[in-house]
């Protein structure tokens, strides 16, 4: 399992090399991996279909109790199959779509890494690894959206997507950690069974809000929907993969995943239901208002994400089953439609539906599968999309609360969806031939047709033979989301009931809108003015604000004067320490000068005097000499107080320091009186304040001991188990040898640094 997930990353590392070797067939070659993964995941189907869930775990950071554990149940298997299955067609398709692109190798690296991250996300059982994969999908999709990095729009869109999703990711992390604290486990498989503990906990509302913030941003729910259509700046295969089938479904996945432990409350229902329904309607409304090929599809994805969110919020077994069916249907037709959008662009150069028309003769196969996929999108019998839509109507009509509002929005959306489907499936291929930027000479190559053909056909196949996916995959997935096995099963024909009537109604009204598409768009033109108040505007404003805050704080804090940095640090330290001392009600200090011997007093006096001289002297020689005096006095203190080794070291280092200073310091200019008197007094006051603080803290620390020193152990064990009688040395080379190793490495680095700085300059001079 670990290998299955990491294989994407591994292949990504060699993908450019493979691409160079295999040339124009690289897409097919690299697509072998997703295909193999698809088959691998398919092998889980019998077990998972019968209701099992499989947990596989590997230790990762045992010290923090973080395992790399994976959970395979209906939900994760459904997603894993979609990711690897659609991934296969995307990789193969991209090989031809981007053929000859200079960065195709890089594209493979990114798309394979993205696929691996996505698989990791849906299969993770551990919250931390789930989060890591979650962020990895954000980062890889950022790179993919910005793939055409020379284009400013692409860069801006990529950054926007990144900020929105990663910002939500931060909220999500907080929510996940809080959830783990409440349930006492980071394992999803355990959290899922402690739903009651979570729902009754005081943090429940906060957890739900934080987790949903993460999911809503990722899955482009209102008001964070604006980044998704922007993300269409990516190459079309990326749009097809990330923004229809996978990445944006991550939020939906997580909501579905956590439904058993966080769901079934009014808060959950209202938040998901209302935001989902609003997103659904906004998405489809924006979709029909757009004319750009990818824009239409992108907004209809927003619609689908809203629908899924709403269904998870409704939370009845019918609703959950509907969500899973809708998820599958949407992935199939949207994947196909996006790939077809790529074909339109590739063969005919069309990026806007208004530029298209009558292409059915030039692109007959494309037109056929576009029609099939569009029928599924529109929810026309006998497509799988129809099955899903019937169940969707049924679920909202039976919703435990808010049924009226949700039904109204759902029907309104369904009408517009039919219109969108007509735009997508009819407009480019039928009617009079419209002059396209490029005249298509031939049908798209097989690598590009394979995806749309298979995905669209599956939409038809699953509709006619609904039992193929119903019992097994979808019921297991729905069971995992619902928390217990579901009793609802799918069927193509429900009889003449209310959902069917609504379907027929939406079909008629939808087609009416399609035939009056131009008038509809003009009539709703006033909506464009509302953009000024939209969330995207808020995003822009907040980005501007962030930039000006950074500028301000750089100007104020990063002013380039070392002493102001120091002053800031010192004064805040003094202030904070004073504050905490005051809060603790003063320090407990015991002062005693008893037992101080006269020679010790003399040494201390010399030390302080020498320090004072080194500060006040105006000659460098005087300063070096007095520093020597300070150092040797310190050495004497070590020796007098039982630290012979330290004393010897101090003496030797002091000698070497003087040698070094002699070698360097005198090549620097003499002291300058640069600072006016007033500033010197200010600095002296700060320095004294800090000195007094250190002295007081030292006093306070000397009179308090919180724990026994571990030195007792070293003293006791030095001879018996370290075979050495010099305890200090035994500590250095035996008990704490690893620390010492680190320290000699630092010393070595400092020496190499000195060498490099001087020798490199010599090189410069020679040039």
């Amino acid at each position: 399992m670990l290998l299955a997930i990491l294989s994407g990353f591994l292949l990504a590392t060699v993908a450019p090399a493979v691409h160079r070797q295999t040339g124009m067939n690289s897409g097919w070659v690299l697509a072998i991996l997703p295909a193999a993964l698809f088959l691998y995941f398919l092998s889980f189907l019998p077990a998972v279909g019968s209701g099992e869930s499989i947990v596989i775990s590997y230790p990762w950071v045992p010290g923090l109790d973080i395992q790399l554990s994976f959970l395979v149940d209906g939900l994760s298997l459904l997603f894993a199959l979609l990711i690897s299955g659609i991934g296969f067609f995307i990789v193969a398709y991209a090989g031809r779509y981007l053929e000859g692109h200079k960065d195709l190798g890089r594209f493979y690296v990114l798309i394979l890494s993205f696929m691996a991250s996505m698989l990791g996300l849906v299969l993770s059982d551990n919250l931390i690894s789930l989060f890591v994969f979650w962020e990895l999908t954000s980062i890889t999709s950022y790179l993919l959206i910005g793939f055409n990095h020379e284009d400013a729009t692409a860069r801006r869109s990529a950054l926007q997507g990144l900020f929105v999703t990663v910002g939500g990711g931060l909220a999500l992390l907080t929510g996940l950690v809080m959830m783990a604290v409440v349930t006492g486990s980071y394992e999803l498989s355990e959290i899922l069974s402690s739903g009651d503990a979570l729902r009754d906990h005081g943090w429940y509302v906060a957890i739900v809000l934080l987790v949903l913030l993460g999911c809503f941003t990722k899955s482009a729910q209102v008001p964070f929907h604006f980044w998704l259509p922007r993300a269409m700046a990516a190459p079309t295969p990326v749009s097809a993969y990330l923004h229809s089938a996978t990445m944006v479904k991550a939020g939906v996945y997580l909501m579905a995943r956590l439904n058993p432990s966080l769901g079934a409350t009014d808060l959950w229902l209202i938040l998901l239901g209302v935001f989902g329904a609003l997103t659904m309607f906004t998405g489809v409304f924006m979709s029909i208002r757009s004319t750009g090929v990818k824009q239409v599809l992108a907004y209809s994805t927003v619609m689908a994400l809203g629908t899924l969110t709403m269904l998870i919020g409704v939370g009845t077994d019918t609703a959950i089953m509907a969500a899973m069916a809708f998820l599958l249907a949407h992935s199939l037709y949207k994947g196909a439609l996006f790939l077809i959008a790529g074909i339109l662009d590739h063969e005919a150069g069309c990026k806007d539906f208004l530029q298209t028309g009558g292409l059915r003769h030039a692109l007959p196969i494309t037109a056929t599968f576009a029609a099939i996929a569009a029928l599924s999108l529109g929810g026309v019998i006998p497509m799988f999309g129809f099955v899903a839509k019937e169940l969707l109507f049924e679920a909202v009509l039976e919703a435990p609360s808010l049924s009226g509002l949700l039904s109204l929005l759902t029907v309104a959306s369904a009408i517009l969806v039919v219109a969108v489907a007509a735009v997508v499936g009819i407009k480019p291929y039928w009617g009079p031939r419209v002059e396209t930027p490029k005249t298509p000479h031939h049908e798209a190559p097989p690598a590009m047709l394979a995806g749309p053909a298979v995905l669209a056909s599956l939409g038809l196949l699953f509709g006619v033979g609904v039992a193929m996916v119903d019992r097994g995959l979808l019921s297991a997935a729905a069971g995992a989301v619902y928390g217990s096995p579901v009793e609802t099963y799918l069927s193509l024909w429900h009889g003449f009931n209310l959902p069917l009537m609504l379907s027929l109604l939406s079909l008629v009204l939808g087609l009416t809108i399609y035939f009056n598409w131009d008038r509809f768009r003009t009539a709703t033109g006033f909506m464009d003015d509302l953009k000024r108040f939209g969330p995207e505007r808020a995003y822009d404003k907040s980005m501007d604000g962030l930039v000006s805050i950074s500028e301000w704080q750089t100007r104020v804090l990063q002013n380039g004067y070392l002493r102001y940095y120091l002053l800031t640090i010192l004064l805040s330290t003094v202030a904070l320490v004073t504050f905490s001392i005051a809060r603790a009600g003063g320090l407990e200090i015991q002062m005693s000068l008893a037992g101080v011997r006269i020679q010790e007093l003399a040494i201390v006096a010399v030390l302080l005097l020498a320090a004072l001289v080194s500060v006040t002297t105006s000659s460098r020689l005087g300063a070096v000499a007095s520093l020597g005096a300070v150092g040797f006095s310190v050495a004497l203190i070590y020796v007098l107080f039982s630290a012979a080794d330290v004393g010897i070291t101090q003496v030797l280092v002091e000698t070497l320091t003087v040698i070094m200073l002699v070698l360097v310091l005198f090549r620097l200019p003499g002291f300058l009186g640069l600072t006016p008197q007033a500033l010197r007094i200010r600095d002296a006051v700060v320095a004294l304040a800090f000195g007094v603080m250190v002295a007081l803290l030292s006093l306070a620390a000397s009179s308090t001991r919180f724990a026994d020193s571990i030195s007792e152990y070293f003293i006791r064990e030095s001879e018996p188990s370290g075979f050495g009688r010099n305890i200090v040395n035994v500590i250095l080379v035996d008990f704490r040898a690893l620390d010492t190793l680190g320290e000699i490495v630092v010393l070595a680095l400092a020496a190499v640094g000195v060498y490099a700085m001087i020798k490199l300059r010599a090189e410069d001079n020679r040039k």
């Binding site: 070497l656 070595a748 000195v754 060498y755």
Partner: protein, 145 residues
């Protein structure tokens, strides 16, 4: 900047000829006894480095480099290698890295002698300290010329 680095003093020159071998032997002595009495790799390394630094002042840089035989950069490298190697045997015994391992010998005159990985580690420390300090001082002194 063409100040003469070496100090023109006959006494110092002659003394350093005598002192150098003594100090180097003393540093080895400090290194070996360090486990039981004050001394050890750090101190011994500093003594050796000071001895050679003194030699550098009394004679000249080339003399000092000749005494050292090896390039100080190599000493640093070897020291780190010794340091790391001394931790390895423990792994083969299934213990944590750097768990000390001891071998006991009985020698004809010296009696029982214990040799362990901490001694190898201490030699590593010694080499790194000698190497680093001299690398710093010799580079600085060379820059002076």
């Amino acid at each position: 900047m063409t100040r003469e680095l070496n100090i023109q003093s006959l006494i110092l020159r002659s003394a350093s000829q005598l002192l150098l071998p003594l100090l180097l032997m003393f540093s080895i002595f400090l290194l070996l006894r360090g486990h039981d009495e004050p001394g050890g790799g750090f101190i011994a390394g500093l003594v050796a480095a000071s001895a050679i630094a003194l030699h550098m002042f009394a004679q000249d840089i080339h003399q000092a480099k000749r005494v050292l035989y090896a390039d100080p950069r190599d000493l640093v490298g070897w020291g780190l290698v010794f340091g790391v190697i001394s931790g390895v045997p423990a792994i083969f015994k299934g213990q944590a890295f750097f768990t000390s391992q001891w071998l006991e010998f009985t020698m004809p005159i010296l009696g029982k002698i214990k040799v362990g990985t901490p001694l190898i580690f201490d030699i590593g420390v010694y080499l790194v300290v000698v190497g680093s300090v001299l690398l710093i001082l010799l580079t600085l002194a060379e820059a002076e010329d």
